[in-house]
Symmetry: C2
Subunit: 300 residues, 2 copies
């Protein structure tokens, strides 16, 4: 390996069962979703976001979150996480036995209003309380910071705002924030600039990168992230999830595509690419359309 | 822009009308192909490979190459190029008024045999004669070096062989060789390694990079190429072309995806992204299936 990537080990956070399925139009039963999680765990994915403890009125795809958790077969060493939007979601997740939760903040005021029906300040106040109670219960908290590279409503998002909110999340006790390109518009120049600004203020280990491949740049952005020293990347098996803003377009970076590149770069992940493909095939047969992962499509 | 890309200007070589259409199953008439070329020229693409002067028995998609050239409306400053496999093809291309041709060499012996029915040494002897006669006629010659990052039959291809053949092509008078990832398996680590070895022996301007997006890595590979100082990249409007080795999979890097990233990085190309989309829509309506470009799909 002769290239400017010093990272030799990375952690892949699998978000297919949550961020992926949440953006698909079919509603899968808990048994199917738990089997998907088990297949991903068998592939060696070290962190799997398995569910969202949200109201089924708002996100019917995520109904019966506790049942998904109950039905999966935990493997030692794997972190099973769940999204919680508020204190009720946290209570339900803790009741179900979840010991790591994720909260969902936004860097754009308009996106925050439309997506979680709250302004940024109020959402952060709620999350501070979520973190406090999670810690009291012995659970830890990760965060997503959405629209960090741009907003579908507001356009460009100031870097200072992303840095400021990331710092506030860290100060309230969040152990890691996934800097998220919610609409898939980021390019590597933005990654260097934004991650550069972030690591000037907080440890690189407290950052993850969450890219969508809507415009094909996700892996180039991962490469830029690796060059900044980032070692945690979110992805979704098969690219499950699509893009809610452009029907038919790609959404989440596909786990297969990410692992293929990391394998090539000699960045160890412990993930078995062929077993990820098997997990994607399993879920693809249930959702009724081909998944967009380039690597997966090349296997046909 | 705060990132390790020093390149501020790049040349995009549009290969859709040749490498793209050649790998589609529909056979389009010369008027349609010429209209596609004109739409690409209107988008500001500075180099367009418009046809292949090959036997229609072997590549029916490329039949009537001279007619395509005759029907297009040349714009000043744009280089219209054509693929020629041999002396007959060169003669036909020159007769049609083409003043820049491309030859197609391989870095893998098995691929050379199966793809152009000749061993590497014999193909290079033919190409030396093609280059001599092209120069005599006042035309210049570009080359593709296929399977430079790996072969579908042989697997890994030694870097020394790629460097050796690239040098031989340069010595015979080829002005630029497109180092080609024919089956879309390259990762950025290979790009740094191979391009590093090449630029130790020849000027970076004599190299282009030709990636396929079969496993999603094409733009990450372009980024690595830019970091090596490469300034010429091949792409195909809409990702036209697919992958002959995996039906349904992506083939050529899509021009839209490439331009989107280069625009973001502040690398000037003179290409109008929206006008490329218009050209892709034109040809998409003729070939009967959605084109795989991520950027294009996000525009629906």
């Amino acid at each position: 390996m002769s290239g400017p990537v010093a990272v030799t080990r990375a952690t892949v956070v699998e978000v297919g069962p949550r961020d992926g399925l949440q953006n698909e139009s079919v509603h899968l039963d808990p048994a199917t979703r738990a089997a998907f999680v088990d297949a991903l765990a068998a592939a060696g994915l070290p962190v799997i976001e398995v569910a969202a403890f949200v109201s089924p009125r708002w996100v019917p795809q995520m109904a019966d979150a506790a049942e998904v958790v109950r039905r999966l077969t935990p493997r030692p060493g794997i972190r099973y996480t769940a999204l919680v939007p508020n204190l009720q979601g946290l209570a339900d997740a803790l009741d179900a036995g979840v010991r790591e939760v994720a909260i969902f903040a936004a860097a754009s005021e308009t996106f925050s209003q439309r997506n979680i029906n709250s302004d940024i300040a109020r959402s952060l106040a709620t999350y501070a309380e979520v973190v406090r109670r999670a810690h009291d219960a012995g659970a830890r908290v990760r965060a997503y910071l959405s629209t960090a590279f741009g907003c579908p409503y507001e356009g460009p998002v100031p870097i200072e705002r992303v840095v400021d909110i990331s710092e506030r999340l860290a100060l309230m006790g969040v152990f890691q924030t996934a800097i998220s390109d919610t609409i898939g518009i980021a390019h590597p120049g933005q990654v260097w600039e934004l991650v550069g600004a972030l690591v000037a203020r907080m440890p690189v280990e407290s950052l993850a990168l969450h890219f969508h491949d809507t415009r094909g740049t996700a892996l180039a952005n991962v490469l830029a992230g690796l060059q900044c020293g980032v070692t945690t990347f979110d992805s979704s098996a098969g690219g499950l999830g699509g893009c809610p803003y452009a029907p038919g377009a790609a959404g989440n970076l596909a786990t297969e595509d990410l692992i293929y590149m990391l394998d090539g770069l000699g960045v160890a992940t412990g993930v078995d690419l062929h077993a990820v493909v098997a997990a994607s095939r399993l879920i693809e047969s249930k959702i009724g359309h081909p998944l967009p992962s380039r690597y997966l499509q090349a296997q046909r």
